[in-house]
C-alpha cells in the first residue's frame, strides 16, 4: 500500500489535542423558554460539574477524523510500478484484430500504467493505431488526466482490421519526443511495421504472452475433407458450428497448424462458421459461405456402359461437374433418398413411384436433369418440363439430307445466357418436345434451326431440366465441348443461387466485430464478387457477410490481411495479469462522512432538537417498504390464486403471462408479469384482476383466505373463478371434465358473501369493452357464466365476480416456445382467438369498468338515427 499524499498523514498528530479538546467541550446547550424563571433562581448551586461529551460520541468523532485524514492521504492497494521519464505519457495502443486475443490483459496493463501516471501526476495522451468504424484519420487523443484516460480506455474496443502502421508512423514522426509506452499486438503485419517502430522508438513495450491466432479459409480437399490452416493456433481445437451455434464437429490442429474436418455433405453444408477454442476473436473465426459448401451430385443411368471410358454417360458427367462436387452413384431411389443438390439421370426412365418421389424432391429444392437417349425415346414418361414426343429425330445420318445442327446462342432469359456457343458443337440426334404444347418460356437452349435442345422449368423450389440429347457422344459431341461443364456448372449453381454476374456489388449484410460476433452493419459497405480475391480487410471492407442468403459471400480475415509474423520488440514486457490498483481514499472519505452524519444526528438528539418521534420518522423514511408490495403497486399486474397443484399453477401463470403480453401489445395498458398469490397471506389489493382456478377436489379456503377474498371483491377487485370444466350434467363442451365442480364452487364461495348472480350475456359490457365478441369461450365453450346482477355491482357497474367453467387460462396458456399448450374444444384455433379477445376484454373491463357500457345502446341509437 502506498499513499498518494503522505504529508496528509501528519494530520494524525492533531488527534491527541483534539481528544483533549473534545473531552473538555461540553455538549452545546439547548435554549428553552421557561416563564417561571424566577422559581429557578439560586438552584445552580445544587450542581457544579459540567457535563462531559458522552464517550461514544468522542470515539465516533475521533474515528471519523482519523478516516478523513487517511482518506485525504490517498492510500492505494497494489500500487502500479513507477513510470520512466517525466512529463506527458504517450500510450500507443494496437487495437487491431490481433489485439483481441489478449484485449482484457492489454486494457488492464494500460489501466495500471494510467494509474501509475495519475499517482505521479502526469497527464496522458493516447494514440490508437487502428482506424475506427467510420475510417476517420488517426489522431493522438488530446492530453488528458489519468481519470479521463481510464474512462477512455474502459470504453475502447478492438477493431476487426489491421492497424494502419504508415499513418501511425507519420503521426509519431511529427510528435515531439516524450515518454512513449507501446502496447503491442505482438505481430508484424507488413513492411510498414519497421518504419512504424523506427518512428515510435518506444520507451517501453508491452506484448501479449501469446500471439493472436489467424485461422485460414477452408479448402475443399479431393477426398471431401475440409482443410484449414491456422497460424499460432494457441488453442489447438477447431470447431465447426452451424448457424444456430450447434457444434457440428471439433478437431485438433497438428504441429504445422493444419486441421481437417470430414463430415457427410448434408451436415457439412450446414457449417456456418469455424472457430478456434479459446477467446472468441475475428482472427480465430472463419465464416462459411456457399463456396465452402460442398455440392453433392447424384448420377444414374439405365444404360449398361455407364462408366466405360469415352463411352459411358457417367464418364462424361463425372468429369464435367464443377470441382469439389461430391458424386454419388447408385439406383435412382437411393439417390433420391440422400437428397443431393443435383441429380443427373442419363437416359433413365422413371417408374411411376420413382416419378412421384422425384417430383417431391424437385419441389423441395432439388435439381433434376434428365438426358435423353434411346431408352427414354422408346418409353417416354410424363416427368418432363414439357411433353415430349416419342421417337427421335436424326440429323446428318446416311439416310437424311440434313446435316448435324449447331447450337443457337442462348436466349436472354435462359440460365445459360452469357455462355459462348461454338460452331463445332453439333447435335446429330435428339428427341423432340411436342411443338403443339411447347411453352416457349421453358426453352433454355435451342439448335440453330430453333428446335428446343434444353427445356427447363421451376417446380416449387427446384428445377426440372430436360436435355434432349445424350450425355455421351452417341447423339452429339456436346459432352466433349467446353460448353458442357459450363452448362453443368450453371445447373449446379441454380441450386445455390450463386449470382451469375460477378460485377454486381454485394452489400454488407452482417458485420463481424473483433470478437468474431456478427452484428447488423452500422455503416454501408459493399464488395464486387470479382474483387473478393484481392480485397484487403479495412473499415471499407470490414469482415462479415456480404449479400443475402445462399448468394452471399463471406469476407474473412484470412487471407485478406497480411500473414502475421512475431514482431521483434527488444525488452518487451508481457502483459501483467495483476488486477488493477485499488484506491482506498474515496471509500475512507465516504465512510468518514457517514460517521460525521451519524454524529450530527446523535448530537441533535442529545440537544433535544430532534425529538424521538422525528428521529423515528427519519429512520422509517430510510427503511425501504417491502419490495413485493412496492413492486405490485408500481406496476399493474394480474394475479392468480395458487392451488396445491403445480400443473394448474403453471397453466395459470402461462395463461396470464400470455394475456398480459397480449393486452400490453394491443392496448396502452402495460402489464407486468402475473403473480401467484395465496389469499390471506399476500396483499391482494394491488391486483385489478384475480384469476382463481378452482379445482373440484380443492379444500374450502381458510377463514383468513375467505376474509381476504371477501374484502377483495367488496373493495373493487374482480375475482374470476374458473372450475376449468364442469359436471357431466352441465352444459358446454367442458361438461364432464371436472366432476364435482359445482359442489366445489358452492363449498369455496360459501364464505365469500357473494352478491346475487345472473347469467353473462353478449349484451354485457364484457362483450364490448375492447373487442365485440359473441360469446366468452376458453378452452371450453357453451357453459353458463355467472356475474353479479346490476344491484350487486359496484358504483361503476363492475361486477366483482365472474364464475365460469370454460378454462380460460388453458386457452391463453402458451409454452416457452410460443406454441399454445392446450387445444380448445370444439372450435380449435378460431375459438382460441375469441378466448384471447375475451381475455383482453376482461382486463380492460377490470381496469376501466363500465366505460364502454354505452356500446350496449349503440344499435338502438343507430337504429333511431337511421329513421
Amino acid at each position: 500500500m502506498i499513499f498518494a499524499a503522505p504529508l496528509a498523514l501528519l494530520g494524525l498528530a492533531i488527534l491527541p489535542p483534539l481528544f483533549l479538546l473534545l473531552r473538555l467541550t461540553p455538549p452545546s446547550a439547548r435554549r428553552v423558554k421557561f416563564p417561571p424563571l424566577a422559581l429557578l433562581q439560586n438552584l445552580a448551586s445544587v450542581e457544579q460539574t459540567p457535563r462531559h461529551l458522552p464517550i461514544f460520541l468522542l470515539v465516533l468523532r475521533l474515528i471519523a477524523v482519523t478516516f478523513l485524514i487517511l482518506g485525504f492521504a490517498g492510500p492505494t492497494l497494489r500500487p502500479p510500478p513507477s513510470l520512466p521519464g517525466s512529463g506527458t505519457v504517450l500510450l500507443v495502443i494496437d487495437d487491431g484484430w490481433a489485439s483481441t486475443q489478449a484485449w482484457p490483459q492489454l486494457i488492464n496493463t494500460a489501466q495500471s500504467l494510467t494509474s501509475a501516471a495519475g499517482i505521479e501526476n502526469r497527464s496522458i495522451a493516447i494514440l490508437t493505431t487502428t482506424h475506427d468504424d467510420s475510417n476517420a484519420p488517426l489522431r493522438i487523443q488530446r492530453v488528458m488526466s489519468a481519470a479521463a484516460a481510464a474512462q477512455f480506455l474502459a470504453a475502447m474496443v478492438p477493431r476487426p482490421w489491421p492497424p494502419d502502421r504508415d499513418a501511425a508512423a507519420k503521426l509519431l514522426g511529427a510528435t515531439p519526443e516524450s515518454t512513449r509506452l507501446y502496447l503491442a499486438d505482438g505481430i508484424t503485419d507488413g513492411p510498414g511495421f519497421t518504419r512504424f517502430i523506427n518512428a515510435l522508438r518506444p520507451t517501453r513495450s508491452f506484448i501479449p504472452s501469446a500471439l493472436a491466432p489467424l485461422l485460414g479459409a477452408p479448402a475443399l480437399g479431393t477426398d471431401g475433407a475440409l482443410k484449414l490452416h491456422a497460424s499460432f493456433p494457441s488453442h489447438a481445437v477447431l470447431r465447426a458450428e452451424s448457424a444456430d451455434g450447434d457444434v457440428l464437429a471439433t478437431t485438433k490442429f497438428d504441429a504445422s497448424g493444419d486441421a481437417a474436418i470430414t463430415l457427410p455433405p448434408m451436415i457439412a453444408n450446414k457449417i456456418a462458421r469455424f472457430t478456434l477454442d479459446g477467446p472468441a476473436t475475428a482472427g480465430g473465426t472463419v465464416l462459411a459461405d456457399s463456396t465452402t459448401h460442398e455440392n453433392l451430385a447424384g448420377l444414374a443411368t439405365a444404360t449398361g456402359d455407364a462408366n466405360t471410358p469415352f463411352l459411358g454417360a457417367l464418364y462424361y458427367l463425372g468429369r464435367a461437374l464443377p470441382r469439389g462436387t461430391r458424386i454419388m452413384t447408385g439406383p435412382v431411389e437411393k439417390l433420391l433418398a440422400s437428397k443431393p443438390s443435383l441429380l443427373l439421370l442419363a437416359d433413365t426412365p422413371l417408374a411411376p413411384a420413382e416419378a412421384t418421389t422425384a417430383e417431391s424432391y424437385i419441389r423441395d429444392g432439388g435439381i433434376l436433369v434428365r438426358f435423353a437417349g434411346p431408352i427414354t425415346a422408346a418409353t417416354p414418361d410424363p416427368l418432363s418440363a414439357d411433353p415430349l414426343m416419342p421417337g427421335d429425330r436424326r440429323l446428318g445420318g446416311a439416310l437424311t439430307w440434313a446435316s448435324p445442327e449447331v447450337l443457337a446462342p442462348f436466349p436472354e432469359d435462359s440460365p445459360f445466357y452469357g455462355l459462348q456457343t461454338d460452331a463445332k458443337t453439333t447435335v446429330s440426334e435428339q428427341i423432340l418436345a411436342d411443338p403443339l404444347t411447347l411453352d416457349t418460356a421453358t426453352v433454355w437452349a435451342t439448335l440453330h434451326d430453333g428446335t428446343p435442345l434444353i427445356i427447363g422449368k421451376a417446380y416449387g423450389r427446384g428445377y426440372l431440366v430436360n436435355i434432349l440429347t445424350t450425355a455421351n457422344t452417341d447423339w452429339s459431341n456436346f459432352p466433349l465441348a467446353g460448353l458442357f461443364p459450363a452448362v453443368l456448372g450453371r445447373l449446379a449453381a441454380l441450386g445455390q443461387g450463386v449470382p451469375s454476374d460477378l460485377n454486381t456489388p454485394l452489400t454488407l449484410s452482417s458485420v463481424e466485430n473483433a470478437f468474431g460476433q456478427l452484428a447488423p452493419p452500422a455503416v454501408h459497405a459493399s464488395i464486387m464478387p470479382s474483387q473478393r480475391i484481392a480485397a484487403v480487410i479495412s473499415p471499407e471492407h470490414p469482415p462479415g457477410l456480404y449479400g443475402n442468403g445462399a448468394a452471399g459471400l463471406a469476407l474473412n480475415l484470412a487471407p485478406h490481411v497480411a500473414p502475421p509474423v512475431a514482431a521483434y520488440l527488444p525488452n518487451a514486457i508481457k502483459f501483467g495479469k495483476d488486477p488493477p490498483p485499488q484506491r482506498l481514499g474515496p471509500a475512507l472519505l465516504a465512510f468518514a462522512f457517514l460517521l460525521l452524519a451519524a454524529d450530527l444526528i446523535v448530537s441533535l438528539v442529545l440537544r433535544g432538537a430532534l425529538s424521538r418521534r422525528r428521529f423515528a420518522v427519519l429512520i422509517l423514511l430510510w427503511l425501504p417498504a417491502t419490495a413485493h408490495a412496492q413492486a405490485a403497486a408500481l406496476q399493474t399486474k394480474l394475479g392468480y390464486i395458487l392451488t396445491q397443484n403445480a400443473t394448474v399453477d403453471q397453466v395459470s401463470a402461462g395463461g396470464l403471462s400470455y394475456l398480459s403480453a397480449d393486452v400490453s401489445a394491443h392496448s396502452s395498458v402495460q402489464l407486468g408479469a402475473p403473480t401467484g398469490l395465496t389469499p390471506g397471506v399476500d396483499d391482494l389489493s394491488f391486483y385489478p384482476l384475480l384469476y382463481w382456478p378452482l379445482l373440484a377436489q380443492a379444500p374450502p379456503p381458510s377463514p383468513a383466505a375467505c376474509s381476504a377474498l371477501a374484502s377483495y371483491i367488496s373493495s373493487g377487485g374482480l375475482l374470476v373463478i374458473d372450475t376449468q370444466g364442469g359436471d357431466a350434467a352441465d352444459g358446454g363442451s367442458g361438461a364432464g371434465f371436472a366432476p364435482g365442480a359445482t359442489t366445489a364452487m358452492t363449498r369455496a364461495t360459501a364464505c365469500l358473501n357473494l352478491p346475487p348472480l345472473e347469467a353473462l350475456t353478449s349484451s354485457s359490457v364484457l362483450a364490448h369493452s375492447f373487442y365485440i365478441i359473441p360469446d366468452f369461450p376458453g378452452r371450453f365453450t357453451g357453459a353458463r357464466i355467472l356475474i353479479a346482477t346490476p344491484a350487486g355491482r359496484d358504483a361503476d357497474g363492475v361486477t366483482p365476480i365472474i364464475i365460469g367453467q370454460n378454462d380460460w387460462a388453458g386457452a391463453w396458456a402458451h409454452g416457452a416456445n410460443g406454441a399454445p399448450e392446450e387445444s380448445p374444444l370444439p372450435g380449435g384455433e378460431s375459438q382460441r382467438i375469441i378466448a384471447d379477445r375475451f381475455g383482453i376484454n376482461l382486463v380492460i373491463y377490470a381496469l376501466t369498468g363500465s366505460y364502454k357500457s354505452d356500446q350496449n345502446s349503440a344499435p338502438a341509437l343507430l337504429d333511431r338515427l337511421g329513421q
Binding site: 421557561f34 416563564p35 445544587v46
Partner: protein
C-alpha cells in the same frame, strides 16, 4: 408598538375570532348542557306568555295586535331572568404566552377559551357579564361577540365592585392577591412543563421578559427543587383565593378544558 404592527396583530386576532367563539360555544355546550331560562315570567328579553292586562301593568307591554282580535287586553309577559353581574378577569401577563410543545395551546389561548366559554354559558343563562376593566356588564345575544372582540382588541370600562369576579391567569408572580368581592373563582392555569419540569442535560432557560437567562449544566438535578417551589406557588395562589372568598381552581393546558369549565360553573352555582 407601531400602528402598522398593531393593525397586523388586530387582523390576526380578528381572523382568530370566529374560531375562538365557535370553540368557546362548543365547549360551553359540552360542559353545561341544558342551561336555559328560569321558566318564570319577569324581566327578561325573551317572550314568556300572554296574560290578561291588570291594572298597574305597563301599558307599553300590551300586545295591541293580539288584543284587537278579541275583547280582552293581552299583556306580553317576559321570562323572568335573575340577572347578576359577573366580572371575568384575564390576568394577561407576558408569561401567559407559553406552551412547552407545539401540540399544546398557550396558557393564554386556554385561558381565553375557558373565559369565553364561561361567558357563553352565563350569557345564555341571562347573566350580565363584564370583562374586568375592559367592557361594562353586557347581556343579550351579541354580548359574547362583544366580549370576544374586547378581549382581543382591548377597551376601557369602570369596574363593578359588587360583581362576582372570576380570574384567569398563571399567577407566577410573588405574593399573588385577588380583589375582595366574595363568591368568585380563581382559575390557575399552568403548562405541564411548568408543573413537571421534564428537562434534562445542559439547558439555558430564558424567561418571558428580558431578564438574564439561567444555565443548567444538568437540568435534571434541578427538577425536585423546582417542583417543590411550584407546588408552594400553587398553594400560595389557592390560599390567596380563599382569603378573597373565591374558589381556587387549577388547570393544566394538557388536560381537556371541559372539566375545568364544569368546575368553574359548579363553583359559581354553589355560591
Amino acid at each position: 408598538m407601531s400602528s402598522a404592527a398593531s393593525l397586523a396583530q388586530a387582523n390576526t386576532l380578528a381572523a382568530d375570532l370566529p374560531r375562538l367563539i365557535i370553540a368557546a360555544e362548543r365547549l360551553a355546550f359540552v360542559a353545561a348542557p341544558g342551561l336555559h331560562g328560569r321558566r318564570r315570567g319577569g324581566h327578561g328579553d325573551s317572550f314568556w306568555q300572554f296574560r290578561d292586562w291588570q291594572s298597574g301593568d305597563d301599558l307599553r307591554k300590551i300586545d295591541w295586535r293580539r288584543s284587537a282580535q278579541g275583547d280582552r287586553l293581552y299583556f306580553r309577559e317576559r321570562e323572568w331572568q335573575a340577572q347578576a353581574s359577573i366580572t371575568l378577569a384575564l390576568d394577561d401577563t407576558p408569561t401567559l404566552q407559553f406552551s412547552s410543545e407545539k401540540s399544546l395551546p398557550t396558557k393564554r389561548d386556554r385561558a381565553m377559551l375557558l373565559l369565553l366559554a364561561l361567558a357563553s354559558i352565563l350569557l345564555r343563562a341571562g347573566e350580565r357579564v363584564a370583562l374586568a376593566g375592559i367592557t361594562p356588564p353586557t347581556a343579550g345575544p351579541d354580548a359574547l361577540q362583544q366580549i370576544a372582540v374586547a378581549l382581543l382588541v382591548g377597551g376601557k370600562a369602570s369596574l363593578d365592585p359588587q360583581a362576582r369576579r372570576i380570574s384567569f391567569g398563571d399567577f407566577l408572580g410573588k405574593n399573588p392577591q385577588f380583589p375582595a368581592p366574595a363568591g368568585g373563582a380563581v382559575m390557575h392555569i399552568l403548562d405541564p412543563a411548568e408543573c413537571d419540569f421534564p428537562y434534562q442535560g445542559r439547558i439555558i432557560f430564558e424567561g418571558s421578559t428580558n431578564g438574564p437567562p439561567l444555565e443548567a449544566s444538568k437540568a435534571e438535578t434541578w427538577a425536585s427543587a423546582y417542583r417543590a417551589r411550584i407546588a408552594a406557588q400553587r398553594d400560595a395562589v389557592a390560599k390567596a383565593a380563599r382569603d378573597a372568598g373565591a374558589t381556587p381552581l387549577f388547570h393544566r393546558t394538557d388536560h381537556p378544558p371541559a372539566p375545568a369549565l364544569t368546575a368553574l360553573y359548579q363553583a359559581l352555582l354553589l355560591r
